[in-house]
Amino acid sequence: MNAIAFLLGLLVLAYLGSILVGGRAIRGFGLASGAEYLVLGFVLGPQVLSVVGRPLVETFQPVLLVGVSWLGLVLGVSYLRVGERRVPVPHMALGVGMSALVAACVSATVFFGASYFSPLPRDEVIAFAATAGIVCSETTRHSVRWVVERYGAKGPLADLAADTARASALFAALSFAVVNAWLSGAALQGISVSGRVLVSLGLGVVLGFTAALLLGREFRRDESWGILLGTSLLGTGAAARLNLSPISATFAMGLTLALVSRHRLDIKAMITPTEKPVLLPVLLLAGAYVNVKLPIPLLVLVAAALVAKVLARVFFGGLLSVTAKPVRGVGLEFGGSMLSCGALGLAVALALTVRHPGVVADTVLLLASMSILLGEWLGPGALRRALARAGEIKPEVPPAGAQPTLPSEA
């Protein structure tokens, strides 16, 4: 397949994604996380059919880099609000805290497992453990939102689920900045790790401020696109050239915009519909990047990381049922519902694959992909059960035909 044909294929996927967002034609089609496109990419990719060869996939690295960074911007811009409602600080803290704890459990499992059972050198073990924790720490807001909207759920548990899912992005974005700075190659050698972290986040903050100032008093959509695209691409490229984390930079930029721009709702309304059209091609490319031909010990470690993630989520869900009132009595289900993951974890894994290719990056990407599939399988169902048991789903609301699959939210 040549590059133009592949590009057209990606544009078709983006078109499909925009229809899913628009929700006019095929609302309810597809899975919440878009996992089917990941599988499609894998099947078309070099590992199975080789319709899309490795050189061709690598030709699209800039597209991938821009795509994952744009996802970081979207997450940053929409971080502070669910719809128009601000995410309460306690919920935010809970989301970040749970993500950090899950990441710690997964990282510890991988670290000890890799130290004893894998042939990786020490530095790579640390990198592997850290990024494995990061990709497992996120909960995608899409599947939570789908369940909540699909079943007309309303109440404190639904709000808590939506808020903590949204808040979980912060940990992944910031901690990847740290890991990437630690991994950083030739550029910025004279600067310490903390200095590099500050540079990657500072770049995003400066560009976010710049964009907020330029968007000024009146908001004109046509001009705003130029400013937002320009600043995000400059941030992405600059961070990548410095071997820093572009996702963290664009996330910081988005968060800055959400905090300081008077047009934060307009910007959010502009940018969030672009998430699916960007995500689906990224998922397809990610699928084509997935490499399953890894040493057995690494495959075992992927499985171990997934088990650790499930256990950690369920355990912390159980703990929450004791401490948080809305979760009372549904802790295990709530913990299970937080297994859904998507864009950010995958974006982190892809960024690692693009910037630091190798066996560790391949393993992390495989883990992120498996995590998405597992989350898709377990997460939405668990949340539905939790909401039903908490009495936040009205019995008559589920439409006929909603049971067999878990369609995408629009």
Partner: protein
């Protein structure tokens, strides 16, 4: 490209824009100094962001002194490009060619969609005379000027008079090529409406076809003069005829398809335009179809055979607001400043005489066609700009005559660089003076209702 006018920007807004421009240059300057050697794809991503942002800001700042946005985009590219600050290197500029492909397809589509049959009828007489006079008078006069200054042109040294005449005729063809992109860029920014705008658009789009035919003719005539062997062959015309008719046929088909899509579906036009711009341009090139002409025909069909023209134009304007900035800023980065410095006396002489003969030709054709006074006075203003089309012609000529091709191309690049910088300024000035630019405040699109902000 943002619209002309708008609410008056305060000093504070301009200060913010200037500060943001400094930040933009500063960020990339710092990064390129820390990492001078780069992987090409990272350079491309950074360059697009930089050119987009710096071009937009520079255009806003130059607006204060009445210069068109296009000059701002070009200037941002020149300053950031390989010859001054070296923030965007040669390789990256080449890597950005897909953006140019996309921009040119959008420009041609929009150009076609702007051409309405009824307005064309109204300027048909003037258009016919202008095409005839501009294509013959300017070509012959510029060939004469080239002959006159041939002793100062490095690559013509040692040529006999026959060969010089051949080269001069080729230069004449180059001189009658115009810039559809610059014309569309200025019209898009100023939203100009009136006889000068209508005439300029129609003439430049038509001249694109005329120049292609002229080039084939002059190549046929010049070959025996330059090489001193072989006769005139009409085979080139057969190929050209096939290409032109094929391009129109393909364009009409595409236009009908687009019109049907716009009517039946009508959304996600950004993605459709991207697919058309990237996918079809490549396909057209593969099947030897002139993509500019095909897209022009497609836009014309949508505007004149359906009621979907405004929708198409609006979508192109939205997409173009980003793509055109990068396109023109890249063109600025592409300008070969050292070459211009080397060849500037000859280039200035050629550009000045071209502008002079263009004005004279315009006066003659306007008198013959009995054009309105405003057209007599300002009709020439859009014809000074040159850009990608002229450079494309120089590449074709360079390939056809390798013995002097490189020198010819270098001089063409230098001359086009001057016309590219001066032409848009003249055109905007003329539109302003002719009272055709929209000086009313545009309607600021309201912020989206809060419901839309919910995701």
């Amino acid at each position: 490209m943002s619209g002309h006018g708008g609410p008056k920007k305060t000093l504070a807004t301009r200060a913010i824009q200037a500060a943001a421009l400094l930040v933009t240059f500063g960020v990339l300057y710092g990064v390129t100094r820390v990492t001078p050697e780069l992987e090409s794809h990272l350079g491309t991503v950074t360059a697009i962001g930089f050119l987009l942002l710096a071009g937009t800001l520079m255009s806003e700042l130059l607006e204060t002194i009445g210069l068109p946005h296009l000059s701002g985009y070009l200037l941002a590219g020149i300053i950031g490009g390989p010859h001054i600050l070296h923030l965007v290197d040669h390789h990256t500029v080449t890597e950005l060619s897909p953006v140019n492909t996309l921009a040119l397809s959008l420009i041609a589509l929009a150009g076609g969609a702007e051409l309405r049959l009824d307005t064309l009828r109204s300027v048909a007489r003037g258009l016919a005379w202008a095409t005839l006079i501009q294509s013959t008078f300017v070509l012959v006069c510029m060939a004469g000027v080239f002959l006159a200054i041939a002793s100062f042109v490095p690559f013509t040294q040692g040529m006999n008079i026959k060969a010089l005449i051949g080269v001069a005729l080729l230069w004449g063809v180059l001189a009658v090529s115009r810039s559809p992109s610059a014309c569309m860029g200025i019209l898009s920014q100023t939203r100009a409406k009136g006889p000068v705008a209508t005439f300029s658009l129609a003439f430049i789009m038509l001249s694109d076809v005329v120049v292609v035919i002229l080039l084939a003719t002059m190549l046929m005539l010049a070959r025996p003069l330059i090489t001193g062997s072989g006769g005139i062959s009409l085979e080139d015309f057969t190929v050209l005829g096939h290409e032109l008719l094929g391009s129109i046929a393909v364009g009409v088909t595409l236009g009908l398809g687009l019109a049907i899509y716009l009517r039946l579906v009508g959304h996600q036009l950004l993605l459709v335009l991207l697919a058309i711009g990237f996918g079809l341009s490549d396909t057209f090139s593969y099947i030897h179809v002139d993509s500019l002409l095909a897209f022009l025909a497609a836009g014309f069909v949508v505007a004149n055979l359906s009621d979907q023209g405004p929708k198409l134009l609006h979508s192109i304007e939205q997409t173009g607001s980003v793509v055109f900035v990068v396109f023109f800023a890249t063109a600025g980065a592409h300008l070969d400043i050292p070459l211009l410095r080397k060849l500037w006396p000859v280039a200035v002489a050629l550009c000045a005489s071209r502008a002079f003969f263009t004005v004279v030709a315009c006066r003659i054709s306007s008198r013959l066609a009995e054009d309105p006074v405003i057209l007599k006075r300002w009709g020439w203003s859009s014809l000074v700009s040159q850009a990608g089309l002229a450079l494309g012609l120089s590449v074709v000529i360079a390939k056809a005559f390798p013995s002097f091709g490189d020198g010819f191309r270098s001089l063409a690049i230098a001359a086009v660089a001057l016309n590219e910088m001066i032409g848009p300024i003249l055109f905007k000035f003329a539109l302003d003076r002719a009272g055709e630019t929209d000086r009313h405040e545009p309607v600021i699109r309201p912020s989206l209702p809060p419901a839309a902000a919910a995701e």
